[in-house]
């Protein structure tokens, strides 16, 4: 299968170029996503995962790098081409309520997506809106409601509905369930999976919650301070995480089982995330890494292949630990 989306050395720097204190939110990310699959992008706050999602969609202008979609580089596309491509790539946000204009009723919010691209004009419009609402499991009478009248889960469904209205191929999901209750979370996750099967969608699923990512994704990329430190197929990364950060992340996740919790050996990371405007030299994780050595400060580690579909950026992996 050919890659639907390919990202090459994407960098997003905030602040004047070259000046000290420039925040390198995304600093050299490369990956590809295959059609119909889900890439999970995980990491904690400040790792740059959301910025990556925005940058792919050109909602934030990348500083350098390429985002190739069907042969076109989005970073260099002109306004008209970009507008056309916006139909193919959509996004849903973490705060569903915030992503809906509070003064527009649901029907108008969904209709707007259709109107922007001139889809289903005239008499077919109302019917299509109802179809779309049905697709995400919302009752038709909600078209008259305003966003604040909806629950978190319903609001997120509306957001998904809007994204689907333009008939996209790829959807970037930026922490879509983090703000929801666990039972609603599960509803939305299931919905996203259903839609993927029915409509052949491709997802980039951004989350800090490794448990949810495990359910959604085929491939997982772990980010830390603007870089991808490990990437692997889902099963490999959960069964045998290689990078010390991934290991720490996995061990920190609580499991709803008191017996295993009592026995778990946790890798507790020391300290806090370094200042993204002034990241550590060499491997960025070294200041909190339990196995860091002197050489780690020298250069940014290259990806070390653990298998054909699994790599991690840690010089200590080459030692055969």
């Amino acid at each position: 299968m050919t890659a639907l989306l390919q990202v090459d050395d994407l960098r997003v720097h905030f602040g004047p170029a070259g000046a000290p204190g420039t925040v390198k939110a995304v600093d050299g990310i490369s990956f590809s996503v295959e059609r119909g699959r889900t890439l999970g992008l995980v990491g904690e706050s400040g790792c740059g995962k959301s910025t990556t999602g925005y940058a792919i969609l050109q909602l934030v202008r990348p500083t350098t790098g390429r985002v190739l979609y069907g042969g076109t580089d989005l970073c260099r596309a002109d306004a008209t081409a970009l507008r056309r491509l916006r139909r193919k790539l959509q996004i849903i946000f973490q705060d569903a309520h915030a992503s809906l204009n509070p003064r527009m009723p649901i029907g108008d919010l969904v209709g707007e997506a259709l109107d922007i691209h001139g889809l289903y004009k005239g008499r077919a419009r109302a019917g299509r809106i109802h179809e779309l609402l049905d697709l995400v499991g919302l009752a038709g009478h909600l078209i008259e409601r305003y966003p604040h009248e909806l629950s978190g889960g319903q609001a997120q469904r509306v957001a998904i509905c809007r994204a689907l209205a333009v008939e996209p191929e790829l959807i970037v999901c930026d922490e879509p369930v983090s703000a929801l209750d666990v039972s609603i979370q599960a509803q939305i996750v299931n919905l996203l999976q259903d839609l993927q099967e029915r409509l052949g969608l491709t997802y980039i699923f951004i989350s800090h919650d490794l448990s949810v990512v495990r359910h959604m994704s085929d491939q997982v990329a772990v980010m830390y301070l603007g870089k991808i430190v490990e990437m692997a197929g889902k099963n490999e990364i959960y069964a045998a995480p290689a990078h010390p950060y991934t290991k720490a992340l996995m061990s920190a996740i609580p499991v709803p089982d008191p017996d295993s919790e009592a026995q778990r050996q946790r890798v507790i990371l020391a300290g806090d995330l370094p200042n993204p405007a002034n990241p550590p030299s060499g491997c960025r994780f070294r200041t909190r890494c339990p196995i860091a050595i002197e050489a780690c400060a020298a250069t940014d580690p290259p990806p070390h292949d653990i298998s054909t579909s699994h790599w991690a950026k840690c010089i200590r992996l080459a030692e055969g630990r």
């Binding site: 909602l59 527009m104 009723p105």
Partner: protein, 301 residues
């Protein structure tokens, strides 16, 4: 999926209807609205209601206290105060409305453009606005009127020019805030162009503070016109004007307080009503108060 003709989706008018439904809850605002409507009606129907000709001098009846014949008494020229009040209202209120219109037409697009485009456009426009704002508003109005001539049209123009920058600044601030909202980014992500974003998203969410600010502008304009007339600009004698009448009434405060109280009372009532109205509008335009039905029913699955 079998569907009867699905109900038409409500447009912007729908939100106005909803806001209107909220309005009656705010008692002060209702009172303000009613008062204002009465004042406007009275002013509009002045030729029909006014018992006397406001400029008719009748020296034999001068400085008479309120009575059956002269509801609010007479002034130093024997003119009926009540009639002068009604006709004076026409001037004051039309000034208010026109100033609001001027300020709106000048200030809102300026503020929107500044806020939305940012960068050099913003800088340029705001420096222009700052230039205007450095002058004390009344003085600027006086200067403009002095330049252009003391007619009432020039007064309106001057006041409008003076209020517009304030409005522009306010609109810019709101625009800046709304521009950063997630729903604007979401609209961009869908492919919305700047036009749609400005009209559907920015304007809609900025309109509430604009309307409230416009009520403030209206009140300020009425007072400003009164001040200018007080000073001798604007309406020329013998035309009735609340401000001018107040000015002339000063000399007779001891002998005929009703001469002063009538126009002052009218201005106060007007401004209070507008302020209450503004409060009510601000609350009514808050979407969180909008409720289309009693409870949100469950979804399908």
């Amino acid at each position: 999926m079998a569907l009867a003709q699905p109900p038409a989706t409500p447009r912007f008018a729908g939100s106005i209807r909803l806001a209107a439904r909220q309005f009656p809850r705010h008692r002060a605002a209702m009172v303000g609205l009613v008062c204002l409507v009465l004042i406007c009606l009275a002013a509009a129907l002045a030729p029909l209601i006014a018992p006397y000709d406001p400029v008719q001098i009748k020296l034999s009846a001068k400085l008479k206290p309120p009575s059956f014949e002269h509801l609010l008494g007479t002034d130093h020229f024997g003119r009926d105060v009540f009639s002068r009040l009604l006709y004076g209202g026409r001037t004051s209120l039309s000034v208010g409305l026109l100033v609001v219109a001027f300020a709106f037409v000048l200030g809102v697009p300026l503020g929107l453009a500044s806020g939305y485009f940012g960068g050099r456009t913003d800088n340029l426009l705001m420096r222009l606005v700052d230039a205007f704002l450095t002058f004390p508003p009344l003085l600027l109005a006086v200067a403009l009127v002095g330049l252009l001539g003391p007619d009432i049209q020039n007064v309106m123009l001057a006041l409008g020019l003076v209020q517009a920058p304030v409005l522009a600044r306010m609109v810019r601030g709101s625009t800046l805030a709304v521009r950063e909202e997630v729903y604007v980014t979401a609209a961009r992500a869908l492919g919305a162009g700047p036009g749609r974003i400005v009209i559907s998203h920015l304007l809609r969410n900025v309109v509430s503070p604009i309307i409230v600010q416009l009520t403030v502008v209206f009140a300020a304009a009425v007072v400003a016109e009164a001040s200018l007339s007080f000073l001798g600009f604007g309406t020329q004698p013998p035309q009735p004007s609340w401000g001018r009448d107040m000015s002339e009434a000063r000399r007779f405060l001891g002998d005929a307080p009703w001469m002063f109280l009538a126009p002052t009372g009218a201005i106060m009532l007007c401004v209070l009503s507008i302020n209450f109205l503004g409060d009510g509008l601000r609350d009514a335009l808050d979407p969180r108060a909008w409720r289309t039905r009693r409870a949100v029913e469950p979804d399908k699955r």
